[in-house]
Each structure stands twice: as C-alpha cells, then as structure tokens.
Amino acid sequence: MAGAVGWQFRRPSVLPGFGVTLGITLTWLSLIVLVPLAALAVKASGLGWSGFWSVATDSRVLAAFRVSFGLSLAAAAVNAVFGLLVAWVLVRYRFPGKRLVDALIDLPFALPTAVAGIALTSLYAPNGWIGAPLMEWFGLRVAFSPIGIAVALIFVGLPFVVRTVEPVLQEMPPEEEEAAACLGASRIQTVWHVVLPSIFPALMTGFALAFARGVGEYGSVIFIAGNMPGLTEIVPLLIVIKLEQFDYAGAAAVGVLMLLASFALLLVLNLLQSWMRARHVR
C-alpha cells in the first residue's frame, strides 16, 4: 500500500532473517512446485501445438472436463453451505461430544482416499446400506453415477470449508449478533447483514480449496464413479488411461489443460473474493 515509489528489493527492517528465509522459500518452491510443473509442460510440448489442440478438443476429454469441473463445483457448493453450518455449531454452541465432532471433521484429511472411496461405494452401491433404500424408495442410483462422484467429492472437501470459516467466526464477537438482535433485526437479517459479510471471504477461500481438491481427486472417485466414457469418466482417469498406453506426452497435455483450467477458475474466485472484501470491509 505504501506506493511503488519508494520500493526496494530489501527494505531495512528490525525483523531478523529475511534474506535467508526468502532464499530458502524460493529454492523450496522451485524444487517442489515450479520444476515439476515446468517438467509437465515440457513433456506436453513433445506433442506440438496441433497435437495439444487435438487432445484439448477431443470430445471424450471435453466430457471428462465437464464431469470433473461441474461436479467439483457442485460438491464445493454443498460443502460451502453445510460446512458453514458445521463451523457455526462448533464455534457458537457448547454441547456434549463437541470435541469428538470437532475431531471427526479432520478425518477426510487423514484417511487414504481409496479407503474412503471403497467405504462410500459399499454404502451407496445398489445393495449397500444407504444405496439400497435410496434405490428402492426414490429409484435413485448413487454409486456408479455422477451423484456418486459428487458424494465422494463432498466427503474429501468437507474439512476445507469448516477449517477456513471456523477461525473467522471465532474472532467475531457474539456481541455483534446480539447487538443486531437488540436493534430489532430478525434472525435472518442478522445472518444476512451481519454474519455472512464478515465471513464471506473465508467462505470463498474454503469453497475454492474444496473445489481445487475435487478437481484433482482420483483415489476416492475411481471406485464409486463406474468410469463410463463420456458419462462418469473424470479427468484424472483420462491421465491414467493415457499413461497406461505409455502416452506420456498426451497425459502431460491433459495435465497441463487441467492446470490451466483450475488456475483460471481459482483466479476468478480470488478476484470475486477481493471484490467482496473491498465492498464490505471499510
């Protein structure tokens, strides 16, 4: 905010260690993130521009992108609503077993995704505990359909929203809501005009994280999806398929496409978030 005029690479500071830590940070980031991503692009460049374009416009690839991105957005939206609810309950109320519930939230982080996938599949399969009644009463097929993919993505994305919204809610004094109530606001007005604006940036961050996780998710989805081409085939599976044919360049091309699409979407979400922040935080 200080303006670009007086900008220097290294401003004098009393805080220790800037040079060393920045050096380590950049090296570390390069090794772990930048170099692998660059290698991906290099592999993909083996195809040439026309080869890359034919991968990008292949109808099956496009269908997979629709499945992966569409269902990830849907799952992230569901997580935004219910994750907010969970965070609200955990921060604002006290009830027996609260710590247990709190610990449960992180479970999807720790569990191997394949285990989650297999567990969800056996529950939601047409003969599973939940799948069978759903099938019988509503004719709803969950496992081996797009709904199943969404269920898996909701599962793996849940902690992101809860854990990003929670600290912000904690910082917000309950008095603000009480003040709103004293001034005659209805409960819905309180939520809409007082609570939501302050936590919206955090909610968006959680949404974006859950979405990004969903797009890249492979392990849990692969079991529940059914993997029918054009219908329930996700982008990461296409990459695996290409690798199975020793088509490294093609696999890398799909990877690069995915990276570009995710990056664009996250950028949009970030812009939206900072716009909201500018509007509400004075």
Binding site: D58, S59, R60, I118, T121, S122, A125, P126, N127, G128, A143, F144, I222, F223, G226, N227, M228, P229, G230, L231, L237, V240, I241, K242, L243, E244, Q245, F246, D247, G250
Partner: protein
C-alpha cells in the same frame, strides 16, 4: 555417558560383523516386478527358488523382493528407473514398452521357451451359484438384460485379454467379418454397467457389490474368487472358445549387468520352467506348460479351444494399435454409448 559410549561400541561392532557376514555367505537379492494377481504365486515360488539356489551354489542365500501393481503401471516404474532384475507382467506389450525404452533387447520374447511365458491362463466366466441367467457361452453375454462386469481395457491389461477373447469368438462365428465382430463387441460393452480400472476392482464389484450377472475374469482369478468366497456362491463357466493368455517373463539386461545379478536372474526365470516351478504355477491356478504337470492337474483345467494373440491378432503391438490406442476400435464402440 557410560551407557552411550558402550552403545556406540556395540553398534559399531554389530555393523562390522554384519558386513563380514554378508561378504562371507554371499547373499544376493533380486527384485521381481510383477502384476497384481501373482502375489501368492511368487511368494511360494521364491521360497522354493531360494532353497534350490542354496543347494546349487553351496550355501548362498538369495532374497527375492517382490513388487506388485497394475501391469502397465509396473512397466512404467521400470522404465522410470525402478531397479527390476526380472519383470513378470500380464502382457508382452508391457515388456515391449520396456524394451522400447532400451532396457532390454527387443527380441526378449525369443530368449525363453514358449514365448517366454512359463505358465498360461485363459478368460472364463464367473457367474452366481445356479447360473440364474443360464449363461453358457459368449452369445449369452450380448442378450438384453444381462449385465457383464469387466474392467476397462484402457487401464487394465487383464481386461484387454477379455475384450480380445470376445472379439476372437465373434470373428470366428461370423466367418471372419470384422464388422460383425465390432457389432458383437459393442453389444457386449453396452451390457457393462461399470468399468473398473483394474481386475481386482471388477472382482470386488461383482462379488461384494453383487452387481452384474457375469464377470469376465482370468481363470486363476476366478478360481481364487471361488476359493475365497466359497463354492456355494459362485460358479465358473468355461466358454466354447477363449484366448490363450500368456503372461511373459524377462530379465532386464541393463539392470542385471549393472548390479551383476545376471546369472541369478536367469536361473530364477529358468526355474519357472522346471518341474517344481510348474507345479507351483499349477497349484496357484495357472496352466502349466510342462505336459506331464499339465496331465497331473488336468481335472483342474478343463479343455477349451484357445486362440493365440499371435495367431488371431498378429501380436500385441498390432492388437494394441488397432483396438486400444486412442481412437481405436474400443474407443469407437464406447463413444456412441450414453
């Protein structure tokens, strides 16, 4: 302090002793990179081989480490630098890919007898007890209302055998008409509700999720399923015609020459062809090549007419390019499906 220095001396002593012991007895290690369903087979085989090697070499112990996974994925690991002394994979195409990367010579398949496949298998049907849909042969799989479970040929080596077996049957039945064979295979895959990414996944879908009426499976996997889940739940149906699945084995030249394990690796693979090796294969439900052993286990493996990949499809490279490459026949028949 005293405790600490004593501990150090002890540790150093142990280390020196360990080195000396390893040198004196001449211990050797091999890494066998294989595919999923051979785990049980090689656990048993490695034990026998180690005993044999100890006798033949005058007391040398050999440790064989195993790595299992999807066949294509295993081949990629070897290409990317996993130090496999020997590879024992599901199809020749995967070892061809390793040869293409320059790790072994391209004529690897001629080096050992029987196309370098010491044991074989075939594709059979696994149905539920009593065979409620009365499935006898390939024709029954394309009937409306029959659900067929098979993994995705694009991700599973085993599933490629399934697909090719169906294709070979249709081709023969229709007097060699490729169009008819394509129609038949397309109809079969229209009856597939779930394409798992690997063979074990499909087996779980069929046996645990109770999905589908028939599972296309390797014979050895079908036997294992019946053994694990009980003969009161599942039955094996052998079709009139199937394909000879030849899982090949090979020494990885570059690795063994660098590590100096060529002799050991070659002995390991040759042991697969001995009477003892063949018996172990047969016990693990793989069809032995040795005629005497085959005769001894004849009751286990029913006679079935088998076509070969070389005879019916002109080898793996041709089959792969035509059927499973992007835009190939498999893509064409699944593309129109919604």
């Amino acid at each position: 302090m005293l405790f600490r220095s004593r501990f150090l001396v002890l540790a150093a002593g142990l280390a020196v002793f360990g080195f000396a012991a390893a040198r004196a007895a001449g211990s050797d290690t091999l890494l066998n990179v294989s595919y999923d369903p051979t785990r049980e087979l090689y656990v048993e085989f490695n034990k026998s081989f180690a005993d044999e090697w100890k006798k033949a070499s005058g007391g040398n112990t050999v440790t064989v480490r195993q790595s299992h996974g999807g066949s294509g994925k295993q081949a990629r690991s070897v290409i990317d630098g996993l130090d496999a002394d020997v590879v024992t994979l599901a199809l020749a195409y995967d070892i061809d890919a390793i040869a293409d990367a320059g790790l072994l010579s391209k004529d690897w398949q001629k080096r050992l007898p029987d196309n370098s496949s010491p044991y074989t298998s075939t594709i059979v049907f696994l149905v539920r007890k009593g065979n409620p849909k009365n499935i006898k042969d390939w024709d029954d799989l394309v009937k409306p209302g029959v659900q067929v479970i098979t993994p995705n040929p694009k991700t599973s080596g085993g599933a490629r055998w399934n697909y090719l077996a169906a294709w070979a049957y249709a081709l023969e039945k229709n007097g060699g008409s490729e169009d008819k064979a394509k129609e038949f295979t397309a109809a079969l895959f229209r009856n597939v509700p779930v394409l798992d990414s690997g063979a074990r996944g499909s087996t779980i879908t069929f046996t645990q999720r109770q999905l589908g009426d028939v599972l296309l499976a390797w014979e050895n996997e079908a036997f294992l399923s019946v053994q694990e889940l009980g003969a009161d739940k599942l039955e094996i149906v052998v079709p009139s015609l199937s394909i000879l699945a030849e899982p090949p084995v090979a020494v990885v030249d570059q690795v063994v020459d660098r590590k100096g394990t060529r002799k050991l690796a070659e002995a390991y693979l040759q042991f697969l062809y001995t009477r003892e090796g063949q018996e172990i294969a047969a016990k693990n439900f793989y069809r032995p090549r040795n005629p005497e052993v085959a005769k001894a286990y004849a009751s286990r493996f029913p006679d079935v007419r088998l076509v070969t990949i070389d005879g019916a499809f002109g080898g793996w490279r041709t089959a792969q390019a035509k059927h499973f490459a992007d835009g190939g026949v498999f893509d064409q028949i699944t593309q129109g499906k919604k």
